[in-house]
């Protein structure tokens, strides 16, 4: 796999942002025909490096050789012209445009000044067929599932005939099945001679897809290896700089009282269809109740209903600590002891423009501790924030830094710190480690288990099967708005839960406690 010839050489790349050295003298080379993985914790500088390659950022120092020739990439259009393609960490699609329009955007049309969407659609279909990327060119992107959107991104790059393709965490939002499909496609692209740069936090994926791996820590290259020469544990250690426990350990606890009871809950989705269909379950003190499922099977609506962000249908009941909370607003539920780590952290969990400190007191700013005589007590708020930043190891230049400039994992830690410091009795954690690096994920898992030990009832909604299997005491699998099974941890295996997620209900009798 891979020839000996380099398609790309990046030499001595340095990039400084106010207060952080994002890339510090980084070297990277990519061969024709290989998948080269960039691995590193949140904030290690992976995205920065590839954005420099794509002309979105300008390096302070260093040089880039493409196919042996030095190039200066000043803008994305120059990168595209040099046949560099990029799948960004966040989708770069226009939801209201069709697939073909998204693909045609920025390209010269053969029928100027008019668009040549028919020709584009035909070419898209060809590419789809050739690479196994099924998607309908005439459909609006907002109607597509996440996995399909990812395919559109890849088609966009292939349409521009990218020879060097950068994929910045393309799997963060995909389901296990979609990841497998994607990897087949990526492997085929590499075998056809393209160079691929792949970024992911998921070591299982990195081990299965990569030809070579370069590890970054704090903006520096700390090592290079290949899957054959290394193991997941060793990679984790290289990234973080210490040993990491990949599977959490949790103490055995006695059953406590039910702190959250959901009965006959029915919730409508955004398009007035039934998203959660008459489901019931209890979560006890000292229990982590996992909810597994492929995204879009009602998990988001369920979480929003429990948090009080979405209305429920008549006959539904949600009880917190034995008291009916069905009609309560979010504030009242929080006062009853509900903590909430939302899935969309930038939309529902934090205010991007606010400082770290402001986000840390976003729930409690009105309490006597932080407000006196109607004025915010900045002294107390500052102290509290500094303590939490220390305790939760949030990597930030200071507590007055705007939250938007932190890396994804660190924003997640800010939310976690806020929610856990309020000592919740019921904690609703949605995709708590999505897009978060190994070190931070280990940390978040440890904190969730600590909460369990002090008696919190936790609902863990996650698409990461390893996470649910490792943490949960019982696992409910959601499929098309229903809980198709609740499996105790002892009986849960990857295969069994995976099948249930795909809607295949085990013919053997289920334990429904």
């Amino acid at each position: 796999m891979g020839s000996d010839e380099n398609i790309l050489e990046m030499r001595g790349i340095t990039k400084v942002f106010p207060g952080v050295v994002a890339n510090d003298n980084v070297d990277l080379d990519v061969r024709y025909g290989e998948v080269h993985t960039l691995l590193g914790e949140n904030g290690a500088g992976k995205s920065t490096l590839v954005k420099i390659l794509f002309g979105l950022y300008k390096a302070d120092e260093g040089s880039i050789l493409l196919r042996g020739q030095p190039i200066a990439v000043g803008s994305p259009s120059e990168a595209i012209a040099s046949r560099i393609g990029m799948i960004h960490q966040h989708f770069m699609l226009v939801p209201t445009l069709t697939v073909a329009e998204n693909v045609a955007l920025g390209m010269t049309s053969s029928r100027r000044p008019f668009t040549d969407l028919d020709a584009v659609s035909r070419r898209v279909s060809e590419i789809s067929e050739e690479h196994g990327l099924a998607v309908d060119p005439s459909v609006e992107v907002r109607r597509l599932a996440v996995g399909e959107r990812q395919r559109v991104e890849i088609i966009k790059a292939l349409y521009r005939d990218a020879e060097l393709l950068v994929l910045d965490e393309p799997t963060a939002v995909l389901t296990p099945g979609e990841v497998d499909d994607l990897f087949v496609i990526l492997r085929r692209m590499a075998d056809a001679g393209r160079g691929l740069i792949f970024i992911s936090h998921k070591l299982r994926e990195v081990m299965s897809l990569s030809d070579r791996i370069t590890v970054l820590r704090n903006g520096r290259v700390v090592g290079g290896t290949t899957p054959a020469q290394t193991s997941r544990e060793e990679l984790a250690q290289m990234m973080v700089g210490r040993t990491v426990r990949l599977t959490p350990e949790k103490p055995v606890l006695d059953d406590g009282p039910a702190l959250l009871s959901v009965e006959n809950l029915t919730v409508h989705g955004d398009r007035e269809t039934v998203a959660v269909d008459d489901i019931s379950f209890d979560v006890r003190s000292g229990e982590i109740f996992g909810i597994a499922g492929v995204s879009g099977n009602g998990q988001r609506e369920l979480a929003e209903a429990i948090a009080g962000l979405r209305g429920v249908e008549p006959g539904s009941s949600i009880r917190l600590d034995g008291v009916d909370a069905t009609g309560d607003d979010t504030r009242a539920r929080r006062d009853r002891g509900l903590g909430f780590i939302p899935e969309e952290r930038m939309r529902d969990g934090a205010i991007a423009e606010f400082t770290v400190s402001e986000n840390l007191v976003l729930v409690d700013y009105g309490s006597d501790e932080f407000t006196s005589r109607g004025m915010l007590a900045f002294g107390a708020i500052g102290q509290h924030s500094r303590r939490l930043v220390d305790e939760f190891a949030v990597k930030t230049p200071g507590i007055d830094t705007p939250t938007s400039s932190l890396s994804g994992g660190n924003i997640q830690k800010v939310i976690l710190a806020r929610e856990l410091s309020a000592s919740p009795t019921v904690l609703l954690a949605c995709q708590p480690t999505r897009g978060v690096d190994i070190g931070a994920a280990e940390y978040i898992h440890t904190r969730l288990i600590e909460q369990r030990s002090i008696g919190t009832a936790t609902i863990l909604i996650s698409e990461d099967l390893d996470e649910v299997l490792g943490l949960a005491d019982r696992i409910a699998v959601m499929y098309e708005g229903e809980i198709v099974a609740i499996v105790p941890a002892e009986e849960a295996t990857r295969d069994k839960v995976g099948l249930l997620m795909a809607g295949v209900v085990d013919p053997a009798p289920q334990t429904n406690s």
């Binding site: 979105l56 699609l93 939801p95 209201t96 445009l97 955007l105 008019f114």
Partner: protein, 309 residues
Amino acid sequence: MGDFFTLSVLVATAASAIRLATPYLLASLGETIGQRSGVLNLGVDGVMLLSAFFSYWTVLETGNLWLAVLVGLVTGLAVGVLYGVITVRLSATQGISGIGIFIFGLGLSDLLFRRQVGTPKPVRRLPNVDIPVLSDIPYLGEALFQRNLLTYLAFLLVPATALLLSRTTFGLNIRSVGENPQAADSLGVSVERTRFIAILMGNSMAGLAGAALVLQLGIFQPNLTQGLGFIAVALVYFGAWRPVGVMGGALLYGLVNATVLQWKALGIIPVSGSDLANMAPAVLTILALIVLARRVHAPAALTRPFTRH
């Protein structure tokens, strides 16, 4: 009431509705282009006042109507350059900048009128041009095909704008920078350039709207528009950012205005109630907006300046 429902009165009302709709239509179509690119321009009324004044002044001095129309367009274009620099280059807040443009236009047109003209003098109006054959159709021909050239232009611009937005490469660029400028940027579409050109197009059309207003009336006075430009902005929402929808709104507005005028003339509305009746179009717009507001999708990046880090 019976007087109103005679064929000749109805035809006259329809004809005047179309005439009255013309400035609204021109201005709203322009505003639609701007908003689809993500730029809100609340200064339309100011642009129209300035272009109306300069058009009027041109006719007054030269007697040349077509030069006056051109002057109106160029005035809009010039204010567009100013607005583009402020909002796109300097990334200023669009809402406030637009109000600034309005006040600037209101003040400057007033000042210039007082200094250069003083008392309102009537000028030549845009002549009606009969379209061969079509204008001979009974009733319909009189209402639709015996209008002035700017009216024809305004209605021709409806399909033209629709085509521009939906079928051209530049229209695709406009829609993408109005929805997700980051995505457009990542594909090498210049957000700045696209928005700037969209602003220039929109303001030129607002300039034409000012010219149409004053040249249909044949007279200028301070604050001639009386908020017409703001209604034009509202009509963009009313029309759900689609040229045909916007045309529907402009026609409805023209029709209500024309009916109120006609009813006053026929004495159906008493003189004492005439001020109240003047509010009818505005009330109608608000009601329509409330009913429609829930169903439409605004350009996602509307009013949001774009910066790359």
